[in-house]
Amino acid sequence: MNRIVDYTVGEPIRDAKAPTGPIEDRWETRKFKARLVNPANKRKLHVIVVGTGLAGGSAAATLGELGYRVTSFCYQDSPRRAHSIAAQGGINAAKNYRGDGDSIYRLFYDTVKGGDFRARESNVYRLAQVSVNIIDQAVAQGVPFAREYGGLLDTRSFGGAQVSRTFYARGQTGQQLLLGAYAALERQIAAGNVTMNTRHEMLELIVSDGRARGIVVRDMVSGEVETHLADAVVLATGGYGNVFFLSTNAKGCNTTAIWRAHQKGAMFANPCYTQIHPTCIPVSGEYQSKLTLMSESLRNDGRVWVPLAKGDARAPGDIPEDERDYYLERIYPAFGNLVPRDIASRAAKNVCDEGRGVGPGGLGVYLDFADAIERLGRDAVEEKYGNLFEMYERITGEDPYRQPMRIYPAVHYTMGGLWVDYDLQSTVPGLFVIGEANFSDHGANRLGASALMQGLADGYFVLPATIGDYLADAHRFDPVDDVAVAEAEISVRTKINRLLSINGTRTPDSFHRELGRIMWEFCGMERTEESLNKALELIPSLREEFWRDVKVSGTAEELNQVLEKAGRVADFFDLAELMCVDALHRTESCGGHFRAESQDADGEALRDDEHFAYVAAWEWSDQGPILHKEDLEYEYVTMTQRSYK
């Protein structure tokens, strides 16, 4: 199993298929030039959508509304459970309802800058344009956003933004938006336009005659391996943060769908761009199974601090004001506690590395609401953050109204994903990738409240407008090749049988935990050439041990959660390796990718635009990954070194 991890450089990607011309016209131009499918023909066209989060749920519903025949899959027991549901803070939109200087152009500008100049201008501009439609759509569906007494929508400012453009539903914005998409999806299921398959897991992509034509899934209840064919396949299977074992993702989130697609020819872009979220509840022990995010909206009113002195073990309330270090406000006076996530995370790590961290193991910093409670009153704070405070108390047994929260960074989101063009189509024709599963809009760092925006933009508005152009040719597609189908099924069965037959001495979770520790330590918040080389030594040897010594109990023909887990861990190993290769080759720092060798005198991330202003799209091959570069050009936003001071 030990693969050579050196990579080769392949042909650059010259055309991501965005129209040219003024940036504000490009999306209109693309929509107008996209061929349409006759409504009578749409009913004959079959689209598979995998995943039912904000992107997949909204896409399946919208494609159903348009008249396509849709088959949708999710691994949970209901489409309503997808992990988008856990997003807390809000959704950005350039509505400028506040008249505070916001605009589509400003949201575009902030997103390109926030992404540290590693996203495509055309995509980001379209995202900002579509953002306004999302709010209209969600409100019409009955999403109960927070409102002012006059009946109009309330907004707040959110990590990294100086305008108030984030719409929210208390601390449960993701839940409310997902339930909106879920309701739309259920409506289409009732109408017979969408066939829903819950408790099904995609394990292989079927590529026939160079096109994505179906998937192989496992029915997680009966264990049956099923083949589903279609004219196009849409992956909306989320991010791969669980490669770190501990992350804010749901336990079931995994990379298998996109990794299978990657091995079938879809390039994987920027896998090393992972976002570490600064405000999570710290780890409490070895048995920890996941990490819980505290929405960074808390940073609007909470103040981050640690004791000035190392090893100060006093209770927070006993530390006088002049012996506290409000380090974000000190180092970044302009943005203070609202600096972007990567900056806030690294700053927390730095103060903990200095020995000034708080709580068990010194891996935590305070997020203090005492000033906000005094200024706004407890009721106002409760109105904004009540459910988050409750969640914190439930997990830690501490009351954040009386003593500051303890927070620490945790893996939260992955900006990398399958490479897609402007139409959201991967390098496999007919395979579209939306939401967190693709790489497209956030560059090297995603701004707060932009994940919900991108997922819904892709699902409600972008994919439904672009997929027709591909499907307009569907009547010319060859019949699906039986050999391709048989091969895909055999590959699934072989892998399942192999996992079941090893009968070793370690559980899949124990391997996953160890892989996660390697990734967090050597390919986490701060990466070096040395640490990445170390990871690239450790991962293949652990993978070899996995395939020799993993223990998977039970059989294939039943509900078997150990088997599900083992299959996902196996793919995480391969992905982990590619992440390290990507992180090693990108010797610059940018956004969520911080190479210790590339920082300025103040310890800030230092980009190398001359050598790295490109998307790194990796092609799978048995001989090691092949790098294809897509150069990024900035016509509108001048590339500058980010400064939040």
């Binding site: 027991d77 209901s78 309503r80 007494y149 409506r187 009732a190």
Partner: protein
């Protein structure tokens, strides 16, 4: 802490099922309830036993997937808390805890603690939506909503669809779940055009799925992890009656 667990084991829908005892002797008070089960399962895998199957996903109290009756109470002893957010600091050394699946005819057991809740999806399919195809919406500010109505709608909309209400109800009624959706959409101006048809269709589907009738015992509210109010059932009944006139 040493904890004795009596866990419902059932191989499949047709198996009769039984309680099986396990001892977990290294439980930390900071563990979540599910992390304790993880520890048990890791051990069972290595001894070649079948680990306990249970539903869970987000482990932060919002996806609604976890579903265990703990010592007779859906989601366990802590009010307004899902199983995944229950922590072992609420137990003490030597405790015995009984864990069973949701028990209700419309939620058949799939395996061990895993049940089939697709009946809830079909209730939503019957009318738990506002019919607005993507792209057809007017500007969001064209329809102001009084803050009180928006807040009340939000409170009802926080339902996570876990089904604890059904599991707690002596009649196995889904009135709290169904009423929550009817209330959420019925309080908003956008929800008015379909309001009566929605109430009728959803209540009829609820009955067709085999859920029992509501007799206002309030057990549902006592276990609801999101604190949905009994008022939503009154609203559902009122809209249903109006729709039937």
């Amino acid at each position: 802490m040493k904890i004795t667990l009596k866990v419902w084991r059932q191989k499949g829908p047709s198996d009769k099922g039984r309680l099986v005892s396990y001892v977990v002797d290294d439980v930390s008070p900071d563990m979540s309830f599910l992390e304790m089960l993880d520890v048990l399962n890791e051990r069972l895998i290595l001894t070649g036993d079948d680990p306990v199957a249970f539903d869970h996903d987000c482990r932060e109290g919002i996806c609604g997937m976890c579903s265990m009756v703990i010592d007779g109470t859906p989601h366990g002893p802590q009010r307004a808390t899902t199983t995944c957010q229950l922590h072992m600091r609420h137990y003490k050394d030597g405790d015995t805890i009984t864990i069973e699946p949701w028990r209700a005819a419309p939620f058949p057991v799939v395996k061990d603690l895993v049940v089939d809740r697709s009946a809830f999806d079909r209730i939503i399919q019957a009318g738990g939506f506002i019919s607005v195809p993507a792209g057809s919406a007017p500007d969001a500010h064209s329809m102001p909503v009084a803050k009180n109505d928006a807040d009340d709608a939000f409170d009802a909309a926080t339902c996570i669809g876990c089904g604890a209400c059904v599991a707690a109800c002596p009649n196995g009624s889904a009135a709290l779940f169904t009423g929550a959706k009817i209330t959420h959409l019925g309080l908003l101006p956008q929800g008015q055009p379909e309001r009566m048809a929605r109430a009728k269709a959803m209540v009829e589907q609820m009955d067709a799925e085999g859920f029992g009738g509501c007799t206002n015992t309030g057990e549902c509210v006592a276990v609801c992890p999101k604190g949905i109010s009994l008022d939503v059932i009154g609203r559902m009944n009122a809209d249903f009656l109006k729709s039937s006139k």
